[in-house]
């Protein structure tokens, strides 16, 4: 069964006279345990699409099913419940609460969920050890490096065992070493815990960690490639080819 099913989703901005189609009739599916990347230039509509999937924004038309539930028809209260139970978020800017320690940041998503307090501590430690951040649990965000912060954010996202982890440019604010560590963590979460991850990025290196990549251009699906049995390096080159093709059309304008 597919975890995520996007069906003819459209998102329009503006009015009749001046209509911008940020997302234009996009359809795709993500199976359980998949690690999917969405690539596209800035302004291609990839973040709008992610916002629609993450229920932060609403599509103008079309349906989005997560775990078989149509999230476009849910009320705001049910949405909040849905969000905390089914989704996990990782943002570019980490979005950790600066007043809370790493432990508390991770525990917060569980306590909002109403998890038994005794269980919370266990779960936090378990996730933290998997992401190798046990030693920063007592630190505040301002005492951590960018990579550590992002892994804490990552731990927060998966602590609740969500059906789907959504990551929006997770490496965007990291140096290359931290980025690599984070992506390896993602890969491990995907292979060991069978976590389903949907990641938005415009960076080919980051995307090369995914198992499948959907390319978006001007709101429409432009292409889709699957890693299959390729090594990461091979996959990276294939991505570059598509990216060149994406940009190449622009050069025809001149």
């Amino acid at each position: 069964m597919s975890i995520l099913k996007v069906e003819n989703v459209e998102k329009y901005y503006g009015n009749k006279g001046n209509l911008t189609k940020a997302v234009d009739k996009v359809s795709f599916e993500v199976e359980k345990g998949e690690y999917v990347g969405i690539m596209g230039a800035s302004g291609s509509g990839k973040t709008t699409l992610l916002n629609c999937i993450s229920t932060i924004d609403f599509p103008t038309a079309g349906h989005i099913y997560i775990n078989g539930k149509d999230i476009t028809t849910l009320g705001s209260k049910k949405l909040a419940k849905f969000r905390r139970e089914e989704l996990g978020f990782v943002f570019q800017e980490f979005n950790l609460l600066d007043t809370l320690t790493a432990f508390e940041n991770i525990a917060l998503s569980l306590s909002i969920l109403g998890t038994n307090p005794n269980e919370i501590e266990m779960r936090v430690r378990e996730v933290a050890s998997r992401l190798e951040i046990l030693d920063v649990l007592k630190k505040y965000p301002y005492q951590m490096s960018g990579g550590q912060k992002q892994r804490v954010a990552c731990a927060r996202a998966i602590a609740t065992n969500p059906s789907l982890v959504l990551a929006d440019e997770p490496t965007g604010a990291l140096d290359s070493k931290s980025a690599k560590m984070l992506l390896e963590s993602f890969e491990r979460l995907n292979s060991e815990l069978n976590a389903t991850i949907l990641m938005v990025t415009h960076d080919a290196f980051t995307a090369s960690y995914c198992k499948r990549i959907i390319f978006i251009k001007d709101g429409k699906i432009f292409n889709e490639i699957v890693r299959g049995n390729d090594t990461r390096k091979e996959f990276f080159h294939r991505i570059i080819e598509v990216v060149t093709l994406l940009g190449g059309e622009n050069s025809n304008v001149f």
Binding site: R84, F89, D98, A107, L108, I112, T115, P117
Partner: protein
Amino acid sequence: MFFKLALSNVKKSVKDYAVYFLTLSFGVCLFYMFNSLDSQQSMLLLSETQHAIVKSMIQIIGGLSVFVSVILGFLIIYANRFLIRRRKKELGLYMLLGMEKGRISRILVLETFVISLFSLGVGLAVGAFASQGLSVVSAKMFEVNLNNFRFVFSAGAFLKTILYFGIIFIIIMLFNTVAVSKYKLIDLLNANKRNENLKIKNLGLSVILFLISVVCLVYAYRCIIHNGMMEINLEFWQAIFFGSLGTLLFFMSLSGFLLKVLKANKRIYLKGLNMFVLRQINSKINTNFVSMTVICIMLLVTIGALSSGIGMASAFSGGIKEATPFDASIISLYDEKNKKSVLQDGEEITKIIGDKLDEISDEHVEISLYQLPIKYGDIFFDSGVGEDRKLSLGYFTETGIVAMKLSDYNSVLKMQGKEEISLPENEYIFNCNYDAVKEYYDKSKYKSISLDGREYKLYKDDMLGIQYETYMTLNDFGTFVLPDKALEKYKPAQKVLNINYKGNAELCEEKFKKEIFDGFNLNQRFIEVTAKTVRDQSISLKVMVSYIAIYIGLVFLITSVAVLALQQLSESSDNVERYALLREIGAEERMINRALFAQIFIYFMMPLALAIVHSIVGLYVANRVIMVIGRINIAWNTVIAAIIFLAIYGIYFAATFLSCKGMIREKSKD
């Protein structure tokens, strides 16, 4: 064009301005109300005595108003700074677009002008109506009728308010201009970036500091309860010092301490957003504990002023009835310097006045007071009462004891409708109604005096306490009533004529003052005290103390809550992001609202809670003082004060909560 921009800016940030506006209007309203008292008094039928006191009250309030306007001025500048800080990014954008700093200042000046004009208008309008209510309250407190209730508008207070606040506004405009000229574009544009350098303290240290603060506070309470408020000595200053230090440490460590304690209880700490709320408060208080301490102390002053001030005032009027047993008294003065009576040999007040007295009175009695060659000090202090007492009674110890003939004493008793006393030859009555002296006399075991070689024993081994003249207070420090024979050879040092009126009391009072006291030119050597004057004076005094207490109390209160509100609001830009994040990770709107409510509620309650504990101790001590003076409990006044207090606190709390909620909502719509 700039006016339009300024106006639309004001409209746009109405929510931000709500607390600013509220504070300004409250300030203006209070200022007008209390400064318009002099025009209101024209409506009241006040006696001359009351007029005199009201006049001095108006002078005091005028002086206080300068102080008040300084406080409000600081508050407004503080509030204004908060508003500017919130708009740094907007100002940065203007600069980026190439607007000169001078023009930006001009926009800010215009904005301030619009807001000020608006709040001045609203404040004055509300003040004008509220001052009518104040007249009714005044009438009630003065126990007089409003002769003709009409709407009174005080042009003087109006102009004064505009002048004072005008100056404050001009200062703010200058302040803004200077502030803008100092800004750097890069700082303005980056203003939204959070300051990550949070002051987070070691929680273990917090627990230790908290315990120290509790010890300090308990010690301070013990000192003040033991010492009382009347004697300003080392112990008193110790109480003040340790009280302040304890309060400071309390706020420095409280949130850390709570965090430490609650962290141990996972059931509470890891439930819903509790952890988040606690951390929010912790981070805010860690940076604001000094202002928290100041606010707590100001709230203490407010509570003290509102309840104790009123209580103290009613205590003044408490003993009036006992102090004025006769309608009027004329009392001869005593030349303390030369230790000589001002009376001529055999002179009597009744004789000076003659027939005139019969016009106003059927019932009057003239008594003589003697000063004997025994000193009070000899009686009170040579027999076991400590040296420290001697100091507090001062010259009294060096004065010869006052004595009175039994026949005079009995005539006073008779006039008061009390039973006369027959005294054995070798006994004396000790009459005293001044509490402090009574206590000393009780302690001294000296129960007999010797005069001209004869011993006199204390009658019935007890003291009596009648008031034998009408006076402002119960003023008998101790009078020795002796058999007539014992005083025969002495000359009276003072004479007192006690009068009860007949017929129309008001006419008699007028006649007594004008025709008798002034008519016979008695004011050189005598004083007159009438029951009505004393009553009027004490009522006016009560009104004066109450009004001053309420004025100061309210200003302090508004200042405190406004600062609390602004601190919460100024944090809101950080909060907006934090709460948006909570929403993103799936916290429901209800949960978020509850967390916001809890955060603001706890923040508002913390200084108040400690101030209440302080004031319970303070009022307990003050109550003992007041009860010594007038035996009036202040419980009732405390209730009224509490209602006013909570109403204002509640308004500010609601305004803050709604503003913060609005800010958080705004972000989620983006």
